[in-house]
Symmetry: C2
Subunit: 331 residues, 2 copies
């Protein structure tokens, strides 16, 4: 049953990607090249992460953004591969930070090779991303992705430092996910726009699409962490609860409770390992999950609205489909 669901999800994405399939394949080849470079034990451990599978959303966004601007350039696959490497680097490090065991149906790099190697592997992937970008001879592109990586780290650090502090506000949560997810997706869209030499207004509009997709994506990710099916997602769930991170549904539930309810809520958060299933039920029955999905759908809608100024085209239709996919996915 769950493996049927997983396949259904994959084929949905494949259908959306149909028009850019050759360019995504080219990106994949660049990522494979990264695995084969390097001496000693590097190829083995890089391959483990790079070829684990993943949605390749960021490369797709770079390619589609360049296409919406009329550019059919190989450079989009290079920028896409770099963005994916940055993303993979943060995943490898996040899985150390969150003590997650499973990703893409297999042990995380930290579990497979040890935390020590995983720390250095993330660095390696990030350096590789910057090397690829440097090869394009456009300092603006490098600046864009270096800055967005800095912002990603900032979001992660600030969220980690507020773990187990259950007074976190909705505004703070939104600022964390803005930093750690939406900024890179915005950079992907602006990177594509840069390759197509679009005007700054058009680039800003595409950037808005990317930012809103990022916000929607992370809210759904955080919701899946609460109510998902581990067989479909292929990654460890309930990591946010275990790590004392309040995400949107939890914040919404907390704020909807009276003082007695809130006391019960807080005491459940103190022992996440025994309270997870109770919490999930509470979130579902209180309407908190529904509220999370509603907010994500609202960001996805804003993403689509950001594209209104562009004429109808295949890449625009695909970006619309990505926005739809983002908020209805289950992995």
């Amino acid at each position: 049953m769950t493996s049927v669901n997983l396949k259904k999800e994959q084929s949905r994405l494949e259908e959306i990607y149909q028009t850019i399939f050759p360019l995504l394949l080219q990106t994949e080849r660049l990522l494979q090249d990264v695995s084969t470079r390097g001496q000693g034990l590097i190829p083995e451990i890089v391959r483990y992460v790079v070829q684990a599978g993943g949605k390749r959303l960021r490369p797709a966004m770079v390619i589609l953004s360049a296409q919406i601007g009329g550019a059919q350039t190989d450079d989009a696959t290079v920028v896409g591969a770099s963005a994916e490497l940055i993303h993979l680097a943060t995943l490898v490090h996040d899985d150390i930070v969150d003590k997650a065991c499973l990703r893409h149906q297999k042990p995380t790099a930290a579990v497979e090779f040890g935390d020590e190697v995983a720390v250095l592997l993330g660095d390696y992937l990030f350096a590789e991303a910057m090397t690829l970008l440097a090869g394009l001879n456009d300092p603006q592109l490098l600046d864009l992705f270096a800055r967005s990586t800095r912002t990603t780290c900032q979001g992660e650090i600030n969220q980690v430092r507020r773990r187990f502090q259950f007074d976190i506000s909705l505004a703070e949560y939104l600022s964390f996910i803005d930093n750690k997810t939406a900024t890179l997706m915005k950079a992907c869209m602006r990177g594509g726009a840069r390759l197509a030499r679009l005007s700054s207004e058009q680039s800003m509009a595409l950037g808005q699409y990317g930012w809103n997709i990022g916000m929607a994506f992370q809210i759904i990710d955080d919701t899946i962490d609460l109510i998902g099916d581990e067989d479909v997602t292929g990654k460890t769930l309930h990591t946010d609860l275990a790590n004392g991170k309040l995400t949107l549904p939890l914040i919404w539930l907390r704020d909807s409770l009276d003082s007695d309810g809130r006391k019960k809520f807080m005491s459940r958060l103190q022992s996440p390992e025994i309270s997870a299933s109770f919490m999930v039920k509470w979130l579902e029955e209180s309407g908190a999950i529904r509220e999370g999905l509603r907010q994500a759908a609202s960001f996805a809608n804003q993403a689509r609205i950001a594209l209104k100024g562009f004429p109808d085209s295949m890449p625009r239709a695909t970006l619309d489909a990505v926005a739809e996919y983002i908020v209805t996915r289950t992995r």
Copy 2:
């Protein structure tokens, strides 16, 4: 006594740096700017690492290399600050990997803020370095440092993956330190040469200086880890022994032993915590430490020889003094 030694070391370096003091101060200001940028808890934790003190060898090398080529450019301080940030990022991550507790006489970032924050902090510093470099609008410089960072990670990973494998050869050890230390110092010298628009021959010669300094520096660092004084170095010692890393003196000692001696040696390595003082004594009495110092001195000498083609000048004399300092330092 030891605090006297520490002061003596610092004033030796200050004397060497005298002629480039204003430029190093400017680099320091750039590093301080990094600490004040960023939201939330970022400034506090960045400041902790950036203002901990350090030899600032890499910025000095960039500045002196640019000067030997006749460039008195502010860009050298930017490249220098970037190189220092890359170096600091790797230190933060190395201290997680090596489980070191002390650096610059205070708790490592991993101990102070936790491993999780330290992982992300290293990433943040690296992204900041790339952002600074991107601001110089020279993709070649970015390529140089992104590649050298990748090589640094490769060296670290390969060394970590060979921990507690005591058959490691001298050639392997030299390849590790080439990757993890010498390559970045070479990049610093070549970065300065690039700013001065030197010929590729001159740039290669300065790169050779940097590479040899890096090799000498790391051999001395590894020797200090064995026989240093924790009050002078201000960092946790015997981390290599504790982490099962064989460095030059240990490899030399192993290879000089007969089969009985080698058995004893191996069994001592299995319980590093109880054998450290015994090992240190053995290394000193066998001549292994002397051999390490001899090899480091030989690399430092090669560094000086690489400068022979440049006319006498203040920066060349300072680079010579740096080569001298590197192999006689005790911290």
